[in-house]
Subunit: 336 residues, 2 copies
């Protein structure tokens, strides 16, 4: 076993920091370490936190982590990912504030990825970082992403619990963009709850949730639909966990204890219902599938003379051969 | 050759409509037709139009198409894709307005895809629809998408010319989301140019463009940077085409003739510079690559006993085996 891996498993912070860099840079050592660490993973609770820029995600995560640290012995990691903006220094800026609030706490580790690479790679890289933290014995790993694109959805797939953060004061015009991301939320946070327009935002979001998961239909025979949706308590229906809403104010920390409690309830739900195992299974199956595809493709391309591929591609570009026929010719004509 | 394909090549509108449905539903007939049509493709100019909901994309495309039809004999297709919102009826609503403006013109064909499937599938489906229109002899194909996610970027990769539409009056908070999508723009349109805040929006967008493609550096020795960026004329630098800005007002149609001219200039640039051929080549190469991967994977999984895969997966889920080792075991243990 590599020395760094051993040191990491013994709780060495410097080894952790070095391994995170190696894994992020996808070095040979990094890949070896990941493989050696894998058997030590699977214990951490992965929590994705996403939302548009300006809704106050970073402050909220800071508040959450401070609250959790005050009330438990849990070791917590934060991975801040900022894929949407090629120009912003968002991740870096947020980190400075964090350093002030959370520095000096040995039970907290913060890492930012201001990657500009491709998005598939970003989800892969984030997954790899969570594995390192997981093996290093962190109990909760917060993955913070900005935006509402495919990257966020991919990263949400990685998390056990997904928190989508909204804030009042964004135009109704962009509600439609949000609708897509609401689908991935386990907990929906309306931050900056002291701002004007909070009632309007809450109403709009409740309307969207109701469209996405019509509780009314499921609970109609109980005659308590309205109360359920309005109580803000997590609801577990016959279809599973139903997105709940939590209002917070990351300035004074109000709503943060309640949010912590909802995260805990979701974690309990995941374990009890078997959903956590299902998510883990699906994720690993997809991962293995992709690795098999890449391996088979590399093998195939290594055996295929480059000029053969070029010849066929030229015919396709010249519209003399369809891509389907091209693939048939390449695959059937391969060396055994 | 299938009858429908023959009819389509002879300009039969009903055959076109039927084939579009078959291709969209990915039927066996649809796939056969696509393959037969491929040799007739490669002529149309594909124009992607994207932007957030509410910026007035549909009206703008309507105005553009009406202007183009008045001044040329070009046959034009519009594909409206609405992937972001699972709840909105945006595409359908926009179509009604369109029907009123463009119906009765035999040289225009409108098709909407309000798909809720996965995003990769959406880009694939859109690509397939463009092939049908292309083979049917449409000269220009507008592909209209909503939002700023991975789907839009994928669809932009398909287009020869990408137009990103913005409008004044959206908060600065969401500028960072836009930044990502600016990267894919060949032409940046600021619609609703009569609205207050237009100067602010224009200034912000110019700043972002300057950050993304610093013309100042490239043209500094010419001493005409400011003039170049401000002239709104397309600039072709040593690095190729540089995103230009066009202000429009889709209410009264102002700016639409100038936008049409910019689209034409971009088309000329693509042909002259060889960029069009490069884009075509890259797209087809990626397509073939993906098809090879899928074929190899299907072959492999067909030969692999399901219980063998399950056994290995169970070991991975139990953290007894790493995914890398699992893949090695599965691939090395395969039947010849």
């Amino acid at each position: 076993m590599p020395t760094l891996v051993k040191a990491l498993l013994n709780g060495d912070r410097l080894a952790l920091s070095r391994l995170l860099s190696q894994v992020e840079n996808d070095t040979k050592e990094g890949r070896k370490a990941l493989e050696a660490l894998f058997v030590h993973t699977g214990r951490a609770h992965l929590i994705g936190v996403t939302g548009a820029p300006g809704v106050g995600k970073s402050s909220l995560v800071n508040q959450l982590v401070q609250h959790l640290r005050k009330n438990s012995e849990k070791k917590i990691a934060i991975i801040a990912v900022d894929p949407t903006s090629p120009f912003s220094g968002g991740a870096v800026l947020g980190d400075r504030v964090r350093m002030r609030d959370l520095s000096g706490d040995e039970g907290v580790f913060i890492r930012s990825m201001a990657s500009r690479g491709n998005l598939g790679g970003l989800a892969y890289g984030t997954a790899a970082l969570t594995q390192v933290f997981d093996a290093a014995g962190f109990d909760m790993i917060f993955i913070e992403t900005v935006g509402a694109g495919q990257a966020e959805v991919d990263i949400a797939r990685l998390a056990h619990t997904t928190i989508v953060v909204e804030a009042p004061g964004m135009g109704d015009d962009i509600q439609a963009i949000k609708a897509g991301i609401l689908e991935i939320a386990d907990i929906l946070v309306i931050n900056k709850a002291d701002r004007p327009g909070i009632e309007h935002t809450e109403k709009a979001l409740r309307g969207m949730l109701e469209l996405a998961h019509p509780i009314s239909k499921q609970f109609l025979h109980h005659g308590r639909t309205e109360k359920l949706r309005m109580s803000n308590k997590p609801i577990i229906s016959e279809d599973g966990w139903i997105t709940c809403i939590q209002k917070t104010n990351s300035k004074d920390g109000s709503g943060v204890p309640e949010l912590t409690e909802k995260i805990r309830e979701h974690s309990i739900y995941l374990n009890k219902s078997g959903d956590r195992l299902t998510r883990d299974r699906n994720r690993l199956e997809t991962e293995i599938d992709i690795m098999i595809q890449n391996t088979l493709n590399k093998e195939f391309r290594a055996k295929l003379p480059e000029e053969k591929f070029e010849q066929v591609l030229e015919k396709v570009i010249g519209r003399k051969l369809s891509p389907w026929e091209a693939v048939r010719q390449l695959i059937n004509g391969r060396n055994p």
